[in-house]
């Protein structure tokens, strides 16, 4: 093997080197500054490499580097980069009212190792790599959810996530064992051939149902979503952000990797299953979000509803669905992170709850405007990013004739507008307590402007959507 053959593999190798370097540098630096700068510079470089680097596809021993996998990897990298920036004040003394996080090196190292698992997940060519990638993408988050030191809620979140995650990986493993029994092989090509040859094999269906159960837990898809509110609320906010964007994207990618390629032949038969889960998730998420006071818990329910919308795309055909999923995750990620940065700002003085938002319009008008944009985007109001993301999902499902389902989804989106407006009401109308003006750091201003512009641009300009659709379409 020559060096040139390794070029397509460069992002994955770079990530590995970065993770090890960050863990290593943590042993030498006391304050963790070096680790932070190394992480964000490395991730930014990785994002550039994935976006503009080698475009050639390659297969390294069942590790597939394809255009679609590069798009997913870019998504994971950007989400992790945003998480790293978001976590900045949380490691600073007095940066957050809940307490200061310690040991940033281990934190970033775990994030990067988690990313490595996500990379393996979308490059998997057999079920072993798939399963290991899924585990590696989940296990670091067990530790990260319990990361807040001397905080009983965080430890509780970690313990709940580890039990639920363990349950879900046992289900996944049991499902994979039946898939193996049904097809006699673990490679995706052999799996695809076997599924085509005998799509009604009972062992295959047993495997699919256990697998769907396991992935449903990871995805927080109703009725398997009950862990999400507790874990999101107890985990530190940066971890919650990672969980709701990167980890959710990884679970969606896992679903898409399996059900849009090797198991594509049975997907039409699974349509009622996906449809039921989609409707349940939308309804459970929207009903749950209405009565939440804690913002992290609110985000959890709102993300369950988003999963419901995303499941609609699993009903459409392969390429269009994959593009719609990626695009929706991008818009959701941008919107979500804008909200999480706002939570980080208000979390400096008070708790990250609805009442913490009170008087935001007077304390920092710009921030309040961004909050309104976020909420409109999450609700799917037309000129914003969230609208285009939802539109692509709905049209992917409508293209296959699931009009009733799209109708239900639109109705749910309208209902969700109500509780997103409750958040805006807190910021604008509710009487403020003490109205101390908020001061932002230069980094925060930069990131908030970037996310705000992205919210507008991604909703108006279809060019990035086209690019993603072409790249993710394989």
């Amino acid at each position: 093997m020559t060096l040139a053959e390794f070029t397509p593999l460069l992002p994955d190798l770079l990530l590995l080197a970065l993770a090890l370097a960050v863990l290593k540098i943590d042993l030498w630096s006391e304050d963790g500054e070096a680790g932070f700068h190394l992480t964000w510079i490395g991730l930014a470089g990785l994002a550039l490499l994935l976006a503009f680097g080698s475009r050639s596809d390659a297969v390294f021993a069942d590790y597939h580097i394809t255009a679609a996998s590069r798009v997913w990897k870019l998504l994971f990298t950007l989400a992790t980069l945003a998480t790293v920036f978001l976590s900045r004040p949380y490691f600073r003394a007095g940066g957050n009212a809940r307490g200061t996080l310690a040991k940033s090196g281990a934190f970033f190292g775990l994030l990067l190792l988690c990313m490595q698992g996500m990379f393996a997940l979308v490059s998997a060519g057999n079920l072993i790599v798939f399963y290991l990638g899924l585990e590696l993408a989940t296990m670091p988050i067990y530790a990260l959810a319990a990361y807040q030191p001397r905080d009983a809620d965080s430890a509780e979140a970690g313990s709940k996530y580890v039990l639920m995650g363990g349950f879900s990986s046992a289900l996944t493993l049991f499902g994979i064992s039946f898939l193996y029994g049904a097809t006699g092989s673990l490679g995706f090509p052999a799996l695809e051939a076997a599924v085509r040859a005998a799509p009604a094999d009972p062992a295959l269906w047993g495997g699919i149902f256990f697998l769907l159960g396991g992935l449903g837990f990871k995805l927080a898809m109703a009725p398997l979503h009950m862990w999400a509110p507790d874990v999101y609320q107890g985990a530190p906010t940066p971890v919650m952000a990672f969980l709701s964007v990167a980890s959710k994207a990884a679970a969606v990618a896992a679903l898409a990797t399996l059900f849009l390629s090797p198991l594509n032949a049975v997907r039409p038969d699974l349509a009622p299953c996906f449809a039921a889960a989609a409707v349940l998730s939308m309804v459970a998420g929207n009903l749950g979000a209405m009565r939440q006071k804690d913002l992290r818990r609110f985000v959890a329910y709102s993300s369950v509803a988003q999963v419901g919308y995303m499941l609609l795309a699993m009903l459409g055909e392969g390429d269009g669905s994959r593009a719609a999923l990626v695009y929706n995750l991008v818009t959701y990620g941008v919107t979500g992170f804008a909200l999480y940065f706002i939570m980080g700002v208000i979390g400096k003085e008070g708790p990250e709850t609805m009442s913490g938002l009170r008087g935001l319009s007077r304390r920092h008008p710009g921030l309040a405007v961004l909050l309104v944009l976020c909420m409109f985007s999450l609700a799917g109001v037309p000129p914003l990013a969230g609208f285009l993301g939802k539109f692509m999902l709905f049209s992917a499902a409508a293209a296959e004739g699931h009009y009733l389902l799209v109708g239900i989804a639109v109705a749910n989106a309208v209902v969700s507008f109500y509780y997103y407006m409750l958040v805006v009401k807190e910021a604008y109308i509710a009487p403020p307590g003490e109205a101390a003006a908020i001061r932002l750091r230069p980094l925060q201003i930069m990131v908030l402007w970037g996310l705000g512009l992205a919210l507008l641009v991604l909703g108006v300009c279809p060019a990035p959507a086209d690019w993603l659709a072409r790249a993710a379409g394989n």
Binding site: F60, A61, A102, L110, I128, P140, L171, F209, F210
Partner: protein, 215 residues
């Protein structure tokens, strides 16, 4: 080719022991006993693996599960000294109470869904399985260390398992980082607490009284 009656009887006995002892693991109140019963369940499991011509996995089952993981469980149980009120309430057993673990309720719902689907599907699976031949695999070295190591380590550049092998090492690295992270404490408070719990004269009676006594 029929399987010899010795194999049949060994399998049936192992299965019986596995099921009984794992039921006991789930039902018994004392966590130390549960750990020991779990080891009892793992040994016949490894026997089943050996009967199924997977000798290496069988040996690994003993080494890793019974040897390492259960040892870890025992260590943790000893370290945190669970009192009887930890976990199982002696009377009444399963009065749920409100405000409990909503995630567990979610798991219950999920379990019901999965169980209902499984109940529909599994009979068909077993019907299909009953038609599979029982001839032993005649491949030389099947399931043995030599053939497995050849599969794992031959031709690393093109071996489909290279990536998996690397991923396993990351998983273990994650375990190490996380365990270190949770066990490493700062400050004088931690040092004092450590010195107390590791003093043998104090630690031993507590262990004997609390953890080893049946309750």
């Amino acid at each position: 080719m029929p399987v010899s009656p010795v194999v049949e009887i060994t399998f049936a006995l192992s299965a019986l022991v596995i099921l009984l002892s794992s039921l006991a693991v789930v039902l018994v109140k004392n966590p130390v006993r549960a750990t020991l019963l779990l080891i009892v369940a793992f040994i016949p499991t490894s026997l089943v693996y050996i009967l199924l011509q997977a000798a290496f996995v069988g040996i690994l089952q003993i080494l890793v599960y019974a040897g390492a993981i259960m040892m870890l469980f025992t260590f943790v149980i000893m370290m945190i000294n669970p009192s009887p009120k930890d976990g199982e309430s002696p009377a009444g057993g399963s009065e749920g109470g409100e405000g409990g673990f909503s995630g567990m309720r979610g798991a219950l719902i999920g379990l019901l869904v999965v169980g209902a689907l499984g109940a529909l599907l599994l009979p068909k699976v077993y019907h299909a399985a009953s038609q599979v031949s029982v001839a032993p695999v005649t491949k030389p070295g099947f399931g043995e260390l030599s053939s497995i190591s050849a599969l794992l380590f031959e031709d690393p550049a093109n071996n489909p398992l290279t990536v998996s092998f690397e991923l396993i090492s990351f998983l273990i690295l994650v375990g190490i980082i996380a365990a270190l992270n949770f066990s490493r404490r700062k400050g004088a408070e931690a040092r004092m607490e450590n010195s107390i719990t590791t003093r043998p004269t104090e630690a031993l009676p507590i262990l004997q009284r609390e953890a080893l006594e049946p309750k």
